[in-house]
């Protein structure tokens, strides 16, 4: 048991780093995912994950496979797409889904083009799928900073964010924070996706954001516990995924996301608000 569960993390430095990095990512990304889901923007996360590709690819083209330039590039690309799509939806008749799709497709095409300018398909695979087992100190510091920023921002803007999700018109009638909060939130999404992409790749970093959040929805009806539960589910997926990857020699990113996927599917079935409880167990009711 010890050999199976604990030993890999004690004996190997790269496993420790991978664990630390992915756990920190969960702390920041999972609550952001909960709000993405509650705002019905789950697919926005996916679009944003594609959107950061050209920035990361440009960093890769100029500096090779290095964390900092790729991260900064990803941040810039993500911010442009988020701001562009957000602005189009706020100030024109087009809704956010359409503008987001348009911007991210442009961005994705640019990204693939940039990667193909230099690298082989191995490089592309690396950018797309990440390597959690190769996190260095720079990367860990970066993830820690991103997580800290995310938690601080969420704490400060929590009430406005909840109000903006629950009743945006009301928030507009009492405060001017509505639009800024929307963009701050999109900023957090980009930040956490960029934090995740070196560990999990641009395509899968959104998995650690959305799957735990979607799973937590089946267990609770309040926002605060939902965020806490999403983080816990994120933790469990990271540990399980890394162990799976270590013992079965599988790529670690997909292993982590698939673990989260298993938890999600179990939640659909067995959650307190899941299929089993709401569909089959309703034989008794009270008089009032």
């Amino acid at each position: 048991m010890y050999d199976f569960l604990i030993a890999p993390f004690v004996e190997f430095g790269f496993m420790q780093r991978a664990l630390m990095g992915s756990l920190m990512l969960s702390i920041g990304a999972c609550p952001v995912g909960v709000f993405l889901m509650l705002r019905r923007m789950s697919l926005t996360g996916d679009a944003m994950a594609h959107a950061i590709l050209p920035g990361a690819a440009a960093g890769f083209l100029l500096y090779g496979l290095q964390i900092v330039p790729m991260t900064i590039g990803g941040l810039i690309a993500g911010a442009i797409v988020a701001l562009g799509a957000g602005a189009v939806s706020r100030f024109t008749v087009q809704k956010e889904d359409a503008s987001m799709a348009a911007f991210y497709l442009i961005s994705l095409a640019a990204g693939v083009l940039i990667v193909s300018l230099r690298g082989s398909s191995v490089d592309l695979m690396h950018v797309l799928f990440g390597t959690v087992l190769a996190l260095n100190n720079d990367a860990l510091t970066l993830i820690a900073m991103i997580t800290g920023t995310t938690l601080l921002t969420l704490a400060i803007f929590w009430r406005a964010l909840v109000a903006e999700c629950l009743d945006p018109l009301f928030l507009r009638s009492v405060s001017r924070l509505g639009t800024p909060v929307h963009f701050i939130f999109l900023g957090l999404v980009v930040l956490n996706l960029v934090g995740g992409f070196q560990a999990l790749g641009t395509l899968l970093s959104v998995g650690l954001m959305m799957l735990p959040a979607a799973a937590a929805r089946f267990w609770t009806t309040r926002v605060e516990p939902m965020c806490a539960l999403a983080i816990l589910i994120g933790f469990a997926s990271c540990v399980a995924g890394l162990l799976l990857s270590y013992h079965a020699a599988l790529p670690s990113g997909p292993a982590i996301i698939l673990s989260a996927g298993v938890i999600y599917i179990c939640s659909i079935v067995f959650g307190t608000r899941g299929v089993f409880n709401t569909r089959t167990r309703h034989h008794r009711h009270r008089t009032a």
Binding site: V162, A163, L166, D167, F170, S173, V174, V223
Partner: protein, 270 residues
């Protein structure tokens, strides 16, 4: 004029260059209780949005007395009912004007939330998820939120939709309490009987204001007939409204005056 809590100056509000409220002038007195009536599309809700500031005026201005806060209950709330929140979370949003983004909710605040729920007949509903409320219950919860906002100006847009007779009575009592507390209340409403019985003043809209003043005067048959004859449709070939027209030219010479009546034949502010 010192006791105007809302002043409209040549206010035009609308969508895509078509006016929904056209050249509204006048003032709403502090502490008045006004019913806003008119046919569908006559600009009632648009006026409310313009007052709150959700919709920017196409021309003219609307300003409220210094330091006065507005509480607004919209006709079509953008409330997301599937959001995982409890009644208490929804109603507590009404504490925003007092507590803002970061202020802590005190025990006293929580007591006030409970009292507000009690006042709308939803005592004990604190922990109920909002997606289990009926339409009328939700409306009452939103009323409780308005109550909590403790605003000087209260705008209610068709607040009695989907509300049963007994609750309408309760809510009217609440509105009268606000009136008694010298708050300025404007209510968009369709039921003219209710208006005649409970509202001292009425604004009758048909894009242009048809009449504005004491309810009995405003709701005279000839005014109602004029309001009914109003053409709801927009016309793309309608001529542009030029501010140089004779009765508006007069307005502009008085830009900083307050409560003059601008048109001899037009409606006067109450």
């Amino acid at each position: 004029m010192t006791d105007a809590s809302l002043t409209f100056r040549d206010l035009t509000l609308g969508y895509n260059s078509h006016p929904a409220v056209h050249h509204l002038n006048g003032a709403v007195k502090t502490g008045s209780l006004t019913a806003v009536v008119g046919a569908n599309g006559s600009g009632k809700s648009t006026l409310m949005k313009g007052i709150v500031g959700v919709l920017k005026p196409m021309a003219g201005t609307c300003f409220n007395a210094k330091g006065s806060r507005i509480a607004y209950l919209p006709q079509q709330s953008e409330l997301d009912r599937s959001f995982p929140a409890r009644v208490i979370d929804l109603v507590s949003l009404g504490l925003w004007p007092r507590r803002g983004l970061l202020g802590r909710f005190t025990r006293d605040d929580r007591d006030q939330v409970s009292k507000a729920l009690m006042a709308v007949g939803l005592g004990g509903f604190e922990k109920r998820p909002i997606d289990t409320l009926s339409g009328g219950q939700l409306q009452r919860a939103l009323f409780a939120r308005v109550l909590l906002q403790d605003a000087e100006i209260i705008l209610l847009d068709e607040p009695f939709n989907a509300v049963d007779a007994k609750t309408v009575g309760d809510l009217i009592a609440l509105i009268k309490r606000w009136h008694g507390e010298k708050r300025t209340v404007m209510v968009v409403i369709h039921d003219l009987d209710l208006v005649r019985r409970h509202f001292p003043e009425t604004l009758l809209l048909a894009r242009q204001p048809v009449a504005w003043g004491e309810t009995i005067e405003t709701l005279k048959p000839e005014n109602l007939l004029r309001a009914r004859r109003f053409d709801e449709a927009w016309h793309d070939d309608a001529p542009w409204c030029e501010p140089a027209g004779d009765d508006h030219a007069h307005d502009h010479s008085h830009d900083h005056g307050h409560d003059h009546s601008h048109r001899d034949s037009g409606p006067r502010a109450a």
